[in-house]
Symmetry: C2
Subunit: 262 residues, 2 copies
């Protein structure tokens, strides 16, 4: 199957322009799974909770409608981030959309830095979606630093981790090699580029979107400061085989009863 | 405090020569913790379980006596690997020795490759030892690929991971940057060098012993093919602070109730 990232440069608060940017970049894109950045339509650097609130939507809102149209246009499964309004709270969420057949959301569990001022942390467990015989798990950005996030998805059978991101630290791309290797899963980490300077907050987003193989190999990597699209063919069945050699199966070799969890 | 690795080139089966090699290398070595390789006195590449059995000792044997004398000579806490004979089974173990005050063993939980033919897997949980106000955890070599190993030690308060190794794969040193970063602990990964070619088995040990900081920085790294000793001063109190920024404490931010464990 073919997996793709679309590394964009969102304009803060301008959803329609950000949809159009992706629409342009996805013309002629042939992929089975396309991963977009975290909060790709809103931007990231909020001045207040109220500002984030105003950009929030239900999972049936404009962003969902755009992702559904993108899925129909490309015939791909789409994963991308948005601010989700749910029962009066707002979350840093990602939508997974496949035409009008599948819609799912993940509310980011591990919020980074000032995200804690704007968003509620997700309280639903990590989940895996079986779509067209491929098992896809979702995590968002800072989830990478908690090995339990990727592990939870992989133990549930995820073959590919869709990983929308807005990265500002220099560690994640290297860490994803280890996450994929230790779990023998593929990952599509899609970052954004550009600066946002609003109020007292400044962020430089570091690009370098990365498609990582089950053996820790980097299959594609974007520049740090350019809009970029990449498609890679992968044999997803490799993620079903947890054997490192004739004697070691990385999942069967685990000893959960000997580990400390809290 | 000062932590050190002694990267050696063991001679298969020649315990006395291997003790002497370390004795020579530790002359004038000033450190509070010295980590030796996995199975540093026996070599690694066994032809049979019987051969490994013949090189096994109780935790009061020759290797313990050597480590105790090394601890008295250097005034350091010593961690190093040996084949442990315990209740009729043999284990790929490490001893932790501090003069005649402290003796502890760890039986390797995650056996690599043909080690499964010779050794029984450890069935005791990871443990942390508080010695001279420093909290030390032990893991051995292939334990690195299971994030639960370092995590279990760090959650129990380990500040430094003593990590005797006989590495043959190219991933561990990079992975240890992530293990230290995600747990905010220090690690001393001590590898060996040299080739062993015995029976059908050939291993090239890849050196590159590494002292890794709580922030993922490499503080010292040995050559891949030379005997090497390095001492690094660390401020171990950094490992007690799990805060990455004003908002994120990497341990308090965990959500154990949302993770999947089996």
């Amino acid at each position: 199957m073919k997996v793709a990232y679309i590394q964009t440069s969102p304009i803060f608060g301008e959803k329609e322009q950000n949809f159009n940017q992706i629409d342009d970049l996805s013309t002629d894109l042939k992929a089975d799974l396309i991963v977009l950045p975290e909060l790709f339509a809103t931007g990231y650097t909020f001045k207040s909770r109220d500002e984030a609130n105003k950009l929030a939507e239900s999972s049936n809102g404009k962003t969902y409608q755009f992702l559904k149209s993108l899925s129909f246009k490309t015939s791909a499964i789409i994963v991308g981030g948005f601010i989700e309004l749910l029962k009066g709270k707002i979350y840093n969420s990602s939508l997974l959309v496949f035409k009008d057949l599948i819609k799912a959301t993940y509310q980011k569990i591990h919020l980074f830095n000032q995200e804690k001022l704007w968003f509620s942390p997700g309280k639903e467990k990590y989940r895996v979606y079986d779509i067209n015989n491929t098992k896809i798990g979702i995590m968002i950005c800072f989830d990478w630093i908690f090995p339990e996030a990727t592990r939870s998805l992989a133990l549930q059978g995820a073959e590919i981790i869709a990983h929308p991101s807005n990265l500002v630290l220099p560690y994640c791309q290297n860490a994803m090699k280890i996450r994929c290797l230790e779990n023998r899963v593929f990952a599509v980490t899609t970052n954004r580029i550009g600066k946002e300077s609003r109020g007292d907050n400044r962020f430089l987003f570091t690009g370098g979107s990365q498609i990582t193989s089950y053996n820790g190999e980097v299959l594609a990597k974007a520049p740090k400061d350019e809009i970029h699209v990449e498609v890679v063919s992968i044999d997803v069945s490799n993620a079903q085989n947890k054997k490192l050699n004739d004697y070691n199966d990385l999942f069967k070799d685990r000893n959960p009863q000997l580990y400390t969890y809290e």
